[in-house]
Symmetry: C2
Subunit: 238 residues, 2 copies
DNA sequence: GCGAAAACTATACGCCGTGAAGTTTGAATA
DNA sequence: TATTCAAACTTCACGGCGTATAGTTTTCGC
């Protein structure tokens, strides 16, 4: 927690308790799935009463929303880091690193993935401008960077499709267009499609649907990456 | 329900009650999401006691499992029908019809889609050889048919990848190999990847994640289909 | 008509989220 | 230092949930 030092004792304790609630909630989720996130269970674990948590989160759904925000931000951080760690001179390697980081995060945090991309809260609506939409836009921007890196090779394959800027969300464009001023709308559409491809395989795997079909999801994902790089007009490394 | 006529009065009533329980459960799910499937709510709607349902389903999860089986079978029927309705002479049209049917079913039955592909029951494991794995294999077989139809054009693009028959589930292969005796393992891998592509875009849309990025998911999916057909070495129609 | 089995109800237990009201605690102020 | 007051926390309560156990009613086969 940043700035803990500058707070008064009271605020510091409050911040620590808030953090502990979230930590315990994540532990419970890791061991028992999203449904195990229970105010009473958290309180039990912390030696408190369930109602005490209402001093920190207005409602159980509020707590879950906060967890989603945190997790989505962590996911976005992870893929950004992988992207930045790969050599900028080698777009194919960057793309592979990005996608592999995405899948690895999902496999390492399956319950987190479910919480982010599933819908644990019935009728849950992400608040406008919250951390989760921001993280979602970061992820999409990452894929757009991926598409942008490949656009010199792939553009001629995917241009057209009569996409216009008005087809996309303003918040997303606010992140994407300044970063890649020369990119056409078709490139953003390509990015969203790539997102869909990766998300599909990963979520089938995380939710256990792939397991019923193949014993080698790793191999399948590797093949997917190779095909992705090729479909972007580039040559896959190693 | 088949064979209703030949049953005794008792069995008939029993079958009707069972069907009503499932119907009410589906209605509740449609209006309030999977969490609204509650034994007490169903019983209330039927003018019964919640415990009466235990005469028909051993547990709430059993009921949900049955619903998943029914829904997955309905989905498999829908895509099979679309496939068969398109002219066999035009593989591209068949593929497009299949994929469009998949998406339409999902958009028409979003809660059903969640029930099938999400994980409403924590730690839920599909029983071996049940209706749901069977429907899953049917869906995968459908996509394999799709890959098989395109294999004459697409094979050279996707062969290799060192896939072997042992990489795939026996139940799936039992359906796939007799139907397409000449197909190599790489074609099944391609089919699973295509499944992933479609599933990804559709599930992002059903779960509301696409809405935060684009206002034209239809256009995006149309583009996806065009790219799919092209990536299979064929020419997209209209 | 009768006995058995099936269908259903009644009651109860332990979970859950959450609201209202009361109590403790600790920091700021007079 | 004594007082005050808000924050932190507890207690009690309500209704909803799945489900186990036991009891009651209905209905079919003989």
């Amino acid at each position: 927690m940043a700035g803990t030092r500058s707070m008064g004792r009271r605020e510091r304790l409050r911040a620590e308790t808030t953090a502990e609630i979230k930590d315990v909630a994540l532990e419970l989720m890791a061991s028992g799935g999203p449904d195990a996130i229970t105010l009473r269970a958290i309180a039990r674990e912390m030696g408190m009463t369930a109602n005490a948590i209402y001093g920190y989160f207005a409602t159980r759904d509020d707590l879950v929303t906060t967890l989603i925000n945190d997790l989505y931000t962590a996911l976005a951080d992870a893929v950004d880091a992988a992207w930045n760690a790969a050599p900028a001179k080698d777009p194919a390697a960057r793309i592979q690193a990005w996608a592999a980081a995405f899948r690895n995060w999902a496999l390492d945090n399956p319950e987190g993935f479910r919480l982010i991309y599933g819908d644990p809260v019935p009728g849950y609506q992400a608040p406008e401008g919250g951390a989760a939409p921001d993280a979602a836009h970061r992820v999409c921007t990452g894929i757009t960077a991926l598409a942008a890196a490949a656009w010199p090779h792939a553009g001629r394959l995917y241009e057209g499709g009569d996409f216009e800027w008005s087809d996309f969300d303003d918040g997303l464009l606010a992140k994407v267009r300044p970063a890649f001023p020369d990119l056409p709308p078709a490139a953003v559409a390509l990015a969203l499609r790539i997102w869909g491809h990766l998300h599909g395989l990963i979520s089938l795997e995380v939710y256990g649907h792939l397991r019923a079909q193949t014993t080698s999801p790793d191999k399948l994902f590797r093949q997917e990456l190779t095909a992705l790089i090729r479909s972007l007009g580039m040559a896959p490394g190693n």
